[in-house]
């Protein structure tokens, strides 16, 4: 069975229909990229999967590791192993990165009936993973994302992913606004996390990130539906021909 199985998913936000029948299956170990023009529903798909309450699912179903994802709260989905790297990570003054992350890890451990980590177990691991993302370990005592540059925020998302070790990581335009060095660091962090047990859904507007993270599959989302699917070469083709081409040449996908 696929790790993530999306069937005929329809969703709206504030009465506007955004997703209009998305079908997608992602197996453990695979990296899928979802590309598409602005407004095609990429971020909505990410938010719905992460169970954000402001998005309303009107039709369809989603199985995550065999369980009904649409029946879960955000925290339940997170504890089951779904991670969303936010397009716009929020700043939370007053809570340090280290405290926040340890609380998150412990919430997930508790959910699975594991013992909580104390600071002594947590810190060495945290420092090691910070190195992977080339982050200064002084940041750990600063408030979550407060005063971070755009690149630092995105790296911090990937760092959290590396610590929480999810089954499915959804990267929502993690590449947008990154310079080439930051992009390389972020991609390196993601690649280090690739494993047969883990899947990635990489949402991006540009092909650029896929030079560093090679996807197994590329899907093009147009007007709330997947218009085309293919291998990594599809991303290059899109880059060359533009999204207009994908819209005009919608594939008939096997049901």
């Amino acid at each position: 069975m696929a790790l993530l199985e999306i069937q005929d998913l329809h969703a709206s936000v504030a009465g506007h229909k955004i997703l209009k029948g998305v079908n997608l299956a992602v197996n453990a170990g695979e990296v899928h990229s979802i590309m598409g023009p602005n407004g095609s529903g990429k971020s909505t798909l990410a938010a719905v999967l992460a169970r954000r309450e402001t998005y309303e699912v009107t039709q369809g179903r989603v199985l995550f590791d065999g369980k009904d994802l649409l029946d879960m709260d955000p925290e339940e989905a997170a504890c089951e192993g779904l991670f969303l790297a936010f397009q716009y990570p929020v700043e939370i003054p007053g809570i340090s990165n280290a405290y926040f992350l340890r609380s998150a890890m412990n919430a997930i451990r508790k959910y699975h009936g594991h013992e909580e980590l104390d600071a002594m177990d947590f810190l060495p691991l945290y420092k090691e993973r910070m190195k992977l993302l080339e982050m200064d370990d002084k940041l750990m005592n600063r408030s979550v994302n407060e005063g971070f540059s755009g690149g630092e925020k995105k790296r911090n998302e990937i760092l959290q992913m590396a610590m929480l070790e999810p089954k499915l990581a959804i990267l929502d335009e993690t590449d947008s606004g990154l310079d080439i060095d930051a992009l390389r660091i972020v991609a390196h962090g993601v690649n280090a996390m690739r494993s047969p047990d883990r899947a990635f859904l990489v949402i991006t507007h540009y092909q650029r990130l896929l030079n560093y993270i090679t996807p197994d599959f590329v899907h093009v989302l147009v007007d709330g539906k997947i218009a085309r699917s293919g291998g990594p070469e599809l991303a290059l083709e899109l880059e060359a021909k533009g999204y207009g081409w994908a819209e005009e040449n919608e594939q008939v996908l096997p049901a």
Binding site: R52, I92, I95, S103, A104, Q160, L164
Partner: protein, 470 residues
């Protein structure tokens, strides 16, 4: 309906009783203070909401209640009753029950060198250098404004006891002095008027924690006045902890007089009480004096927490910072009134005021009012206020990482409150309020978690923010 005169009858009774009891003990100057205080109070009575300083706080419930003065020892409180309120590691702990000092419950032995603490009544009765230069007579009643503030007048007329704290020149007292004011009901509504005088001499360093608690659920009325004199270069931290029961009325005033380069921090933590008025009134009277006025108020149910700040810059080159954060749930109501007066000669004043509020329910309410009166021309004054809710975006972010909704809310509330903790020096007093705040917020998160849906995107009102640099 009772007339104003009838309502004040209980106070007159208390006043006459007290004068008779104290006649033989108290010096003439003190008697005079009491008489002046009483004259002022009986002429003015309690303020109404027509009074600009009381616009947001209706005192009719307080004025209506016939509070009674207790006799000494009328209500017995055991060591066990107050065990939970003790402050381990305090340099010294004075316990007052319904305004009377209880030596058996207190721990004032083995005082560190340079620290003098005793009950104010005892200090006066024993003649503890009362009249000596720098003694009690020179300071008591010299700062609290009896003319302007009827509660100061009432306290001056009616105080039974309180604390006298003196930190000698150059002494650095590491641990805080703990003044525990206990209200304990006796089947009727009781009033107390604690009076505290703190003299922090030149270049001394110390911390005093004034802690108001209740034993039992009966309504009480505490009307406290604290006069604090900070000498040249003194460094002083004052903590006010209000954790009385929700039926209580509490009006407390900290009046600070700061000499040259004195550095005073006032930290107010209002967690309990039904109707609370917290007055903080520093006068920066010496060049280069600095004050930090830091506070947190947390209300639920029908609590009404009113903070009235009056900062007077009376000398040049002084610096004042006001930071108050409020968290209000249910039907709770908060007030922040921040008034800054810069006198004519107080050039190069640097004054800043910030009030931030989180409303956890549609029925909670905050009134925030900055007021600046500037008579000097080379000053920098800024003020700002925000009102918001817990942001859905923040909550979702934490929940997406695995935190349960109630825990995520609690963490966000704590982070908001922690801004106030961060402004306190590390140590015993901060640890006390930290644990009290944590416990309070946990209660609040639990009782509001299910009641409140994710709030709409926060509405942030930035009050007019201006700067005047001459």
């Amino acid at each position: 309906m009772a007339t104003a005169a009838q309502r004040l009858e209980k106070y007159l009774e208390a006043y006459n009783e007290l004068l008779a009891e104290r006649q033989e003990h108290e010096p003439v100057w003190l008697r005079q203070l009491r008489e002046d205080g009483w004259a002022r109070f009986s002429a003015k009575g309690f303020p109404t909401t027509h009074d600009e300083d009381w616009r947001f706080t209706n005192l009719s419930a307080l004025a209506r209640t016939p509070f009674r003065r207790t006799a000494k020892g009328e209500v017995r409180v055991s060591a066990r009753d107050i065990a939970a309120y003790r402050l381990a590691n305090a340099a010294c702990e004075l316990v007052f029950v319904n305004g009377y000092f209880v030596p058996e419950l207190s721990d004032a032995g083995n005082l560190t060198k340079g620290l003098e603490v005793c009950a104010l009544r005892r200090a006066i009765d024993c003649g503890l250098d009362v009249c000596a230069p720098g003694g009690i007579e020179q300071h008591l009643g010299q700062y609290a404004n009896v003319e302007r503030d009827v509660f100061a007048a009432l306290n001056t007329a009616l105080w039974d006891d309180g604390a006298f704290v003196r930190i000698r020149r150059g002494a650095a007292i590491e641990q805080p002095v703990h003044l525990l004011y206990v209200s304990a009901g006796a089947g009727s509504s009781l009033m107390t008027h604690p009076r505290t005088l703190i003299i922090a001499e030149e270049a001394s360093q110390s911390t005093v924690v004034e802690d108001y608690v209740s034993v039992g659920n009966e309504p009480g009325f505490s009307n406290a006045i604290t006069e604090l004199v900070a000498g040249e270069g003194a460094v002083f931290s004052h903590f006010l902890v209000e954790r009385e029961n929700f039926a209580s009325f509490n009006v407390s005033t900290l009046r600070t007089e700061q000499a040259r380069s004195a550095n005073v921090a006032s930290h107010s933590v209002l967690l309990g009480g039904g109707l609370v008025r917290n007055n903080v009134h520093p006068i920066l009277d010496g060049e280069g004096a600095e004050c930090l006025i830091n506070g947190l108020f947390v209300g639920e149910g029908r609590q009404h927490l009113d903070n009235y700040m009056l900062v007077e810059h009376a000398s040049p080159q002084c610096n004042s910072r006001q930071y108050y954060n409020g968290i209000l749930a249910d039907h709770a109501r908060g007030v922040f009134h921040g008034r800054i007066i810069v006198h004519k000669d107080a050039q190069k004043t640097d004054a800043k005021q910030t009030n931030r509020n989180l409303l956890l329910s549609d029925n909670a309410r905050i009134d925030t009012k900055p007021q600046l009166e500037i008579y000097a021309d080379d000053v920098k004054c800024t003020h700002g206020a925000t009102i918001g809710q817990i942001e859905e975006e923040h909550l979702f972010y934490l929940r997406q990482r695995g935190l349960a909704k109630a825990d995520a809310r609690n963490l966000l509330l704590y982070a908001f409150a922690a801004e106030c903790l961060d402004r306190m020096h590390q140590g015993t007093a901060r640890e006390l309020v930290e644990s009290l705040i944590q416990a309070r917020l946990q209660e609040l998160a639990q009782c509001t978690a299910n009641a409140v849906d994710p709030a709409p995107p926060s509405t942030e009102e930035e009050a007019q923010n201006w700067e005047e640099v001459g």
